[in-house]
């Protein structure tokens, strides 16, 4: 019997200050028992203050897109991290949400639909939910590879529909609209970007809260159970297909909200928004951010905008760098950025981080040297291939290089090989130190357990 424990206190005590849900439980560690209020307050404050700190028009554009990407990646991770479902066609739900919202916006502008612009993302959400209910009914009957294949098929199907139904999808140009619909409510016209940002930020905060709450509900927990062991779920009374389907619909709802916000933000919806490349981006950045922790996709969303908008401005080879980063992450840090953060916080909590810092520094240095070498070669190659008309001279980080001369290539190759070898050497030593630290922590935990 539970005996001494009062029924009230027991569950409450164990719920408070638990680790983030999902696979983050892999690290049995509770982040400093920071109050929930502090975390959510900080998150809200961050959203609130971001455009004041980064006030240029470029950063407002970026921040707006980040808010949208955060919602989308969190919704995507509902399937990937929490449900173990690898969807290759999730842009379908954000994209269709965007199209529905943009058509609704048109109607609002024409006066045939009476809906405040600020509620249009909900129309997008409704569309996402409806299509997820429809397509999800088919896809979620299966799990694993079959599920992934069917989502891929549906993604292609919807994308091809976009070319077949130009009235709805607007063909090549897409559908554009105008988000400024007079009269203004309380002075909010959604003309200036900053007003749109705050709309997105509000949705981002509420959606993040709702999706986090979902992880604490019976359905949310059973989704984890289905991820871990679908077979056993059936033997404790749950229909695994239903669990997957319901989660799929809820994910679709939030994807649709993100799509609706994108429609308002860009005043445009294009077929590319339902395409396979966008779906791939959701997968890639959710994974990079970290699918095993709830907050991982928030990092993923930020990275997504930084990569697709900022990195793509810096270099034409940005997709190549992205692919490399993804590969390295899968190989060395499969729990993503969030996993790295949690693992290091855990080390810090046990006072094991400091001895590893020189190792980190060495890794960083060697990695940077190798990266400079590799990127030099990549940039020279791109320059020769794409900018032939400009001649062989090019700029790389303020240095002018001759892309056809042997000297630059020799230096690049040398840097790459030397850096790579050094990195591998340092990495091996680092792994030993890391493993030893982890073993110490396990021992310490067992000791506390026994005490």
């Amino acid at each position: 019997m539970t005996g001494a424990r009062t029924p009230d206190a027991a569950p409450a005590r164990h719920e408070a200050g638990r680790q983030p849900p999902g696979g983050a439980a892999t690290y049995h560690f509770r982040p400093y028992n920071v109050g929930r209020w502090a975390v959510w307050g900080g998150y809200g404050l961050l959203l609130l203050l971001a455009p004041l700190v980064f006030s240029s028009s470029l950063s407002q554009t970026l921040l707006s897109q980040m808010g949208i990407a955060i919602i989308a990646c969190l919704a995507y991770n509902m399937l990937l991290g929490q449900g173990g479902m690898l969807s290759f066609g999730h842009a379908v739900y954000s994209g269709l949400g965007a199209f529905l919202a943009i058509h609704a916006l048109d109607h609002v502008g024409a006066g045939t639909l009476h809906l405040p612009v600020s509620l249009l993302p909900l129309a997008g959400g409704a569309a996402g939910l409806a299509f997820a209910a429809l397509f999800g009914f088919v896809t979620t009957r299966k799990s694993g590879t079959t599920f992934a294949m069917i989502t891929l098929g549906i993604g292609e199907l919807v994308y091809s529909m976009s070319l077949m139904l130009p009235e709805f999808f607007g063909g090549e140009a897409g559908v554009s609209s105008n988000r400024v619909v007079p009269p203004a409510t309380l002075g909010v016209t959604f003309g200036p970007q900053v007003q749109v940002y705050y709309l997105i930020a509000a949705y981002c905060f509420v959606c993040t809260g709702l999706m986090f709450a979902f992880t604490r509900t019976p359905l949310g927990r059973m989704l984890n159970a289905v991820r871990d062991n679908p077979e056993r779920v059936a033997f404790i009374g749950y229909d695994t297909q239903r669990v997957r389907w319901f989660a799929f619909m809820i994910s679709g709802l939030f994807m649709g909200v993100a799509g609706g916000l994108a429609a308002i933000n860009f005043e445009l919806a294009t077929a590319e928004m339902v395409g396979a490349q966008r779906s791939g981006a959701y997968l890639l950045f959710t994974y990079l951010g970290g699918s095993t922790a709830f907050f991982g996709p928030i990092i993923g969303g930020v990275l997504m905008v930084l990569a697709t908008v900022v990195l793509s401005e810096l270099t034409k080879a940005w997709l190549l760098y992205l692919g490399l980063a993804f590969m390295l992450m899968v190989m060395y840090a499969p729990a993503g950025v969030a996993g790295l953060v949690l693992a290091n916080l855990r080390l810090a909590a046990f006072g094991k981080l400091r001895p590893l810092l020189p190792g980190y520094l060495a890794l960083l240095l060697a990695g940077a040297v190798a990266f400079v070498g590799a990127s030099l070669m990549v940039e020279m190659l791109y320059h020769l291939q794409l900018n032939q008309a400009l001649g062989p001279m090019m700029k790389y980080g303020g240095v002018t290089l001759d892309a056809k001369g042997p000297a630059a290539w020799m230096v690049a190759l040398l840097l790459f090989v030397a850096g790579g070898l050094a990195f591998e050497r340092v990495r091996r030593r680092f792994v030993l130190g890391w493993d030893a630290a982890q073993a110490d922590i396990e021992r310490e935990l067992r000791r506390r357990d026994a005490a």
């Binding site: 927990r221 059936a234 009374g237």
Partner: protein
């Protein structure tokens, strides 16, 4: 606890006539050309503890898979409290009051012990697919999970991930997941396999405690466990139930001696001597 259990045993024996909790009528299962279960017929009374024994490959596990809905029988009928359940999916059978454990522990590996148990009580408490309530506020689910934790003596391992448990702890949690939903008919597939003598003793007692007043079917190889636990024994040989009687009668049955038990008993007696 033991006293209570024994008194309940007596009470059960006195009650009459017995209600049939689980019935198999000429159940057959074919995989390709091979017939694994060849017309199994069995009627288990409510509140009875039945052990299924038989040589390797006799179809014991397949029989469990048929009853629990993992496979559908090729022909024949399976009835739970008089209701046909053959061919139903596992979750439907579970909701009608039948739960099973697995020979190889089948847990939610990345969830804590407590979360494992709480998942297993949710459906029976009617929470279904709720996404509008917080788990932390489900007092009955939390209390039941804590109670199970205590019953399994896993309180100290409450927040450990299932994958980090020791073998014996995983076996205990396996039984916990099986009984959590309060099913009236419990199927345990080799619950003590791979355990030491002392662990086995503790486990038999645990199984007795958690199945008080319930109908139990168990597949077991350890004859000590079988004769210690079972009210009746079913002997399965080549997909047929060749005997189904009290332990004494089964022990004396010449067909059983010939097919299976003779060699095992001889071994057991040699071991004791």
């Amino acid at each position: 606890m033991t006293d209570v259990a024994e008194r309940l045993d007596l009470a059960r024996a006195a009650a009459s006539p017995p209600r049939v909790a689980l019935e198999l009528r000429d159940v057959r299962k074919r995989f390709g050309k091979t017939e694994i279960i060849r017309g199994a017929t069995l009627a288990v009374n409510a509140g009875e503890r039945v052990a299924i024994i038989g040589p390797n490959g006799a179809g014991k596990s397949t029989l469990f898979n048929l009853v629990s809905g993992r496979f559908a029988p090729s022909s024949g009928e399976i009835l739970l409290d008089g209701q046909r359940i053959d061919g139903l999916p596992p979750h439907r059978i579970n909701r009608q009051g039948l739960a099973r454990s697995f020979q190889v522990s089948n847990l939610f590996t990345r969830l804590s012990v407590f979360e494992n148990l709480r998942c297993a009580v949710l459906w029976s408490l009617g929470y279904r697919y709720a996404f509008w309530r917080f788990l932390a506020n489900l007092r009955d689910a939390n209390e039941r999970a804590e109670h199970l934790l205590a019953m399994l003596q896993l309180e100290r391992r409450r927040d450990v991930l299932a994958m980090n448990l020791t073998y014996a702890e995983q076996r205990a949690l396996e039984i916990g997941l099986t009984i959590a939903g309060g099913a009236q008919v419990i199927l345990l597939d080799e619950p003590t396999a791979g355990m030491s003598k002392s662990e086995t003793r503790r486990f038999v007692q645990l199984i007795r405690d958690v199945t008080v007043g319930k109908t139990l079917l168990t597949v077991e190889h350890d004859m000590g466990v079988v004769f210690g636990l079972a009210d009746r024994i079913a002997v399965l040989v080549y997909g047929e139930v060749i005997a189904f009687d009290t332990p004494e009668a089964v022990r004396a049955d010449p067909r059983v001696q010939e097919a299976y038990l003779g060699s095992v008993l001889a071994q057991a007696q040699a071991g004791e001597a």
